[in-house]
């Protein structure tokens, strides 16, 4: 066997990702810290409305109402008032200078602010090119999907711009914050409406030139359940904007972004773990799963990601650790397979199904592994996992997955789910921190705004799936089902249901008696206008 360094392209903390992974659906785009959902709104507006995510060579520019350009304030008094109206919690720097986060209520307020040009673009990667692209492209392009795509783009654009947004000429009966901004000149940096829509079309449908060349979409026979859920929910959030006060709508939008993006990421991380497990199973003499089993496992990767608890757990950290270890191990295995295989595996991309000179389907990949079982067993011993782990331990990302390499970035991004130490009591958090590092653990339970948002989304789902007449009452089980589709399993933990009932009662969303169990009726916190 060739010595390891010649087989594996070593990176700083882990082996460099084999091309078979980095070009395909197993690739997990880099994530980065987003301490507040307010930053996600800024990022969203920069992605949708601005020609440039950030100006070239410019450092990041925080959104602050009092920002100055020389001696002159960047924002007018009315703009400042609107910015202060969407003030978030204070950052947790611990210094006396810690200041709150602000979100732009309308795109025009994002014109002076941006993240670092090279920073991780989580809205682009974990929403636009992630679940939404997966939803519109995963099953191929049909005429229904094309029609739906156009409708979706239109609804997204109108909502983010503001259905009731005022202009300098037309402001009677328009939304109050937009009226305060009606005379602001947005400057030259924004796309026109057609350009912005074309940009979204390119991201969602993969049409046109994509300078980023990131494609994690995988082929499925039916819609991927999680991708469909997130796409439909984002659509429902955008629908709500019509006729709903902007300030309250932004809270719903932030709750959605804060929750959906990390949950998509966690689900995508599972793909690597699943594939690593199949590979080791095959190498240990197990069978190769058939295509339907592969499709089922991929479609169910979002199941039971997190369990609501009233006692702290490390479940979320365990996901990161498991993923990073699986990633390092799979890379090692793929490098060895590529070394043993003369058919150019290194040039191929792993796909879920399909054939081609530049791709290899999962079942074919597993067959390849099985064909090399004897050689790999000789190299790593049996059971194979033990031998792989011996190799993987050499990498900091495997030994210390939360602190080294991509695992650290992932953990930082997941912090957007944490409840802030102050000013987030009524918020849209999912995780409540307990204990100090390194013994930090989390209570997994949705915050009030997230519960309100999901109650609305559960109703929208029923409306979309069943129709107005047949949708019936909105009950606890609908809400639980909705969380389940994202991987939050209330039914699996004994204490979760009573806690959920209590929380809903506290925010006055419980209409039926709590003793009605999963059929207790819920009050709809807000309604979408048709």
């Amino acid at each position: 066997m060739t010595p390891i360094p010649e087989i594996i392209r070593k990176g700083k903390n882990e082996p460099q990702l084999p091309g078979a992974v980095s070009r395909g659906f197993l690739f997990l785009p880099t994530a980065g810290v987003r301490s507040s959902p307010h930053v996600l709104v800024l990022e969203l507006f920069r992605e949708v409305f601005f020609r440039e995510f950030a100006p070239p060579k410019a450092p990041d520019q925080e959104l602050l109402p009092w920002a100055m350009s020389g001696n002159k304030p960047l924002f007018t008094t009315k703009e400042q008032a609107v910015l202060y109206a969407v003030e978030g919690r204070k950052r947790e720097s611990g210094s006396a200078h810690s200041r709150p986060y602000y979100a732009p209520a309308y795109p025009v307020l994002a014109r002076h602010s941006w993240l670092r040009r090279r920073s991780e673009r989580v809205v682009d990667r974990f929403l636009f090119r992630g679940p939404i692209a997966q939803y519109f492209r995963g099953t191929g392009k049909s005429s229904e999907k094309k029609t739906e795509l156009e409708d979706t783009i239109s609804v997204f654009y109108r909502a983010l711009k503001g259905h009731q947004a005022a202009t300098a000429e037309e402001f009677h009966g328009k939304e109050i914050l937009s009226v305060a901004l009606k005379d602001i000149d947005p400057g030259p940096g924004l796309w026109s409406e057609e350009e912005a829509k074309e940009h979204l079309r390119c991201l969602f449908a993969g049409d046109g030139d994509d300078p980023e060349r990131i494609d994690t979409v995988f082929r499925t026979t039916d819609d991927d359940p999680l991708a469909r859920r997130i796409s439909h929910d984002f659509y429902a959030v955008c629908q709500l904007e019509k006729g709903f006060p902007r300030m309250q709508w932004l809270e719903v939008l932030m709750a959605f972004l804060r929750f959906a993006l990390p949950m998509w990421m966690l689900a995508q991380m599972r793909l690597t773990v699943i594939v690593r497990d199949w590979v080791t199973q095959v190498l240990d003499g197990g069978s190769v799963p058939d295509t339907s089993a592969i499709a089922r496992a991929i479609g169910q990767r979002n199941r039971r990601l997190l369990h609501p608890t009233v006692t702290p757990t490390r479940e979320v950290f365990e996901h990161v650790e498991r993923y990073m270890r699986a990633r390092v191990e799979l890379s090692i295995l793929l490098y060895y397979l590529a070394h043993l295989d003369s058919k150019g595996l290194g040039e191929k991309t792993i796909v879920t199904v399909g054939k081609g000179s530049d791709r290899i389907a999962l079942d074919a990949l597993l067959d390849l592994f099985r064909g090399r079982q004897a050689e790999l067993a000789k190299e790593f011993g049996t059971p194979i996992r033990a031998g792989i782990v011996r190799r993987a331990e050499e990498y900091p990302a495997w030994k210390n997955p939360l602190k080294k390499g991509q695992g650290e970035n992932i953990e930082e991004f997941l912090r957007v789910l944490y409840r802030a130490r102050e000013g987030d009591e009524g918020g849209s958090y999912l995780l409540i921190r307990r204990g100090r590092e390194p013994d930090t653990a989390f209570i997994v339970f949705p915050g009030p705004t997230l519960l309100r948002t999901f109650t609305y989304l559960a109703e929208r789902r029923k409306d979309r799936d069943l129709g107005k007449k047949a949708k019936g009452k909105l009950v606890i089980s609908d809400l639980e089902d909705h969380f389940r589709e994202y991987g939050i399993e209330f039914a699996a933990t004994a204490s979760a249901r009573p806690q959920l009932l209590k929380s809903l009662q506290e925010i006055s969303l419980l209409k039926g008696s709590p003793d009605a169990g999963d059929s207790a009726e819920l009050i709809l916190p807000f309604e979408a206008k048709e």
Binding site: P65, T77, K78, Q80, A81, V82, Y84, A85, E87, K90, R99, P100, Q164, F171, H172, G173, K174, E175, I176, L177, V179, A180, F244, P245, R246, M247, Q248, E251, G423, E425, G426, P448, L466, K469, A470, G472, K473, V475, I476, S477, Q505, E506, I507, S508, L510, K511, G512, S513, P514, D515, A516, G517, D518, S519, E521, I523, L524, P525, F526, E527
Partner: protein
């Protein structure tokens, strides 16, 4: 001595029957095995008219009736679905129908734990089934089968019943029936079937709270394969959730009346312990109008405070516990034996523990002692020392006290109905000792025990007087002692005495924690019905005004009551907001539950204002409580309801009279005012 007492026992068999209504008792759950006999405490409910209708509508009656019926009872556990079917079963039996399980077993042959999924009804002289009962379609036929799902089995049942062309009665809960509907609603083949239409009708009629129990449109039945009893079917449903037995209802009072009826207690006349029997004394008090009213008043408060209705099963178990005690105490003896034995042995404190006031508020605490282990150990030690001051150890009060302080619990603290009576139960929240009581009350009920022995309130029986006298003797014993630990013993004794006397006084006076506020809440709930008398309207108007003030003050930290918080930093104010979002009591004729519905101005949907929130809001308004001393989650609920109403309103697009007051954490302050459609900055 024990043998002698047992030989002379006077037995009231009704108490033993009452015990079967408690947890694990054979009548605690209505099931086919106990349908043959009418329930022990059967009362008339609004279901009776439905049952009378179903009795004829379900049957073909010698092919006279060609329209069968599918009926759905929809509701949570314990609220009377199965009992209703049991009543229907008896009515059909009385009409000569034969009722069997699917495998042909007589229902009488079933054991208490055997609950068949399906029951078949045969009309007199017929070989073929006419009616199916699925008395608990919320469960599954075989719980150990793979991938069991009640909703799937419900669909199978409906399909099969339609195929057989039989009438059907289904008891289930909303979750199962809606899930079943969701499973098939997109199935175009199912959409044209009768069973699907029936399911849809049942859901729609239940959801709209429409004409409950009344049949809807008839569904044509196309028979295939053999002769069928019906040509068509009508569908009806009845929703049983949120049905209070107390608020706007006299059902619980009827249960109490039934359970305290004189004929059921006549056997007690010959009992030597009757004057000291807690159950007989509870019965005598509850049989009075005042006693029954007091109990219903206290339980109504419990119901609204918890936000959950007391379902039939809980109500029956509670009445049973008050009138027959706890089966765990008896261990092979009857309640009467237990009482007479304790009476003969002078163990009056154990008997006192089962008096109505102690049962309601302190059944979780052993014999009225402290609930917390550490405190109880200290209290027991002190009382043990008090026993030892009686060198002979034979004085009656010493004998009775010794039983209380021995390590084992003299009476069980696990009395069932945990949601109400348990250590974390609702009644503990309502315990009068947890709230402030007036000085005059303390003066009367927490003073000299010797004087209390002369108290004439109907709730004070000979049992109480015995205990008061013994407590007075124990206090005297301390007076005469020169031990250093007398203050400790005295404190332990007084704490124990007060646990009984204060609760006794509270029940006699109708006092509980938050009593005034909860009564006000109940009154507003009562006035939420339509068709009020002019005097009631006047009262409602006054209460509504009170509510407006309470809500306005409670939902903002500011003195400016007209401001509505939209977020932590933004408040809505101005004439438009004040008039449009003014809170109003939503008087919904369908609402018959325990939560007050509030409508803010013309907003389209009601917000519920729970009793717990209301209690604290009322106190805040009345006492000028600082918001920082207010339970945060309760404040959030009230503020949330108001902010949600604001969000639902059109404040954002109003052209005039709307102001946003923006106060940042950094200290910046802005006012954006809408004026002729534009937005101007204001001071």
């Amino acid at each position: 001595m024990k043998e002698a007492v047992l030989a002379a026992i006077v037995e009231n068999g009704f108490l033993k029957e009452l015990l079967t209504l408690q947890q694990d008792g054979r009548n605690a759950i209505s099931s086919p095995s106990n349908w043959r006999e009418a329930p022990l405490l059967e009362i008339e409910t609004e279901l009776d008219s439905i049952i009378a209708d179903l009795r004829s509508a379900l049957l073909s009656r010698g092919e006279v009736n060609k329209t069968g019926r599918w009926h759905f009872f929809i509701g949570s556990p314990g609220n009377g679905k199965s009992a209703a079917v049991g009543k229907l079963y008896r009515a059909l039996r009385a009409s000569g129908c034969r009722v069997e399980t699917e495998s042909g077993e007589e229902l009488d042959s079933l054991g208490p734990g055997e609950i068949p999924y399906l029951v078949h009804v045969y009309e007199p002289g017929k070989k073929f089934v006419t009616v199916w009962f699925a008395q608990d379609a919320s469960v599954v036929k075989n719980p150990f089968a793979k991938d069991v799902d009640p909703s799937r089995e419900l669909l199978d049942l409906l399909r099969e019943a339609w195929g057989r062309g039989v009438s059907l009665v289904v008891c289930t809960n909303w979750g199962v029936i809606e899930k079943a509907f969701r499973r098939v609603h997109t199935d175009t083949d199912a959409a044209s079937t009768g069973w699907f239409k029936a399911l849809k009708q049942a859901i729609e009629s239940g959801r709209d709270g429409g004409e409950q129990g009344k049949p809807g449109n008839e569904l044509e039945y196309r028979a295939g394969g053999g002769k069928k009893p019906f040509d068509k079917f009508s569908v009806s449903s009845k929703t049983l959730d949120n049905r209070s037995l107390l608020v706007g209802s006299t059902l619980l009072a009827q249960l109490v009346e039934k359970a305290t009826a004189a004929d059921k207690w006549s056997a007690c006349a010959a009992c030597p312990a009757k004057a000291r029997c807690p159950f007989k004394q509870n019965r005598d008090w509850l049989a009075t109008a005042k006693g029954s009213e007091r109990l219903c008043q206290i339980l109504s408060r419990a119901e609204v405070l918890s936000g959950q209705v007391i379902v039939f099963r809980e109500a029956l178990a509670l009445v049973s516990f008050l009138l027959a005690g706890c089966p765990r105490d008896y261990l092979g003896v009857s309640p009467c034996q237990w009482v007479q034995d304790h009476d003969a042995r002078g163990q009056f404190f154990a008997l006192l523990t089962r008096r109505v006031y102690a049962s309601l508020f302190a059944s979780y605490a052993p014999c009225g002692l402290e609930y917390e282990d550490e405190l109880r150990t200290k209290q027991r030690d002190a009382l043990r020392e008090l026993c030892e001051l009686d060198l002979t150890g034979t004085k009656p009060e010493t004998v009775a006290l010794k039983q209380v302080v021995k390590a084992a619990e003299p009476v069980s603290t696990d009395v069932g109905v945990t949601r109400l009576l348990g250590p974390a139960g609702v009644m503990r929240h309502l315990d009068p000792l947890r709230d402030g009581l007036p000085l005059s009350f303390y003066g009367k009920w927490d003073g000299s025990t010797r004087e209390l022995a002369h108290e004439t309130d109907a709730l004070v029986s000979e049992l109480e007087r015995k205990c008061f006298t013994m407590w007075a003797d124990l206090e005297n014993r301390l007076e005469g002692s020169s031990k250093d630990s007398v203050p400790v013993m005295y404190r332990a004794l007084r704490r124990w005495i007060s646990a009984f006397t204060l609760r006794l006084g509270a029940v006699a006076d109708g006092r509980t924690a938050f009593g005034q506020e909860l009564d006000l809440y109940l009154r507003v709930l009562d006035l939420s019905r339509p068709n009020l008398h002019p005097d009631e309207k006047k009262e409602l108007s006054r209460l509504e005004q009170q509510l407006v003030e309470v809500l306005a003050q409670a939902t903002t930290a500011e003195t400016h009551a007209g401001r509505i918080p939209l977020s932590e930093t933004v408040q809505l104010q101005g004439p438009w907001a004040e008039s449009t979002l003014r809170p109003k009591i939503a008087r919904d004729s369908n609402a018959r539950n325990t939560t007050l519905a509030i409508r803010f101005g013309a907003s389209r949907q009601d917000a519920s204002l729970g009793a717990e929130v209301f209690v604290w809001l009322e106190r805040k308004a009345k006492w000028g409580m600082d918001l920082r001393s207010f339970p945060a989650e309760l404040l959030a609920a009230a503020a949330d309801a108001r902010a949600r109403a604001a969000a639902r309103s059109d404040y954002a697009s109003e052209n005039d009279n709307v102001e946003l007051v923006i106060k940042s954490r950094e200290g910046a302050r802005f006012v954006l005012r809408r004026f002729e459609g534009d937005v101007v900055e204001d001071e």
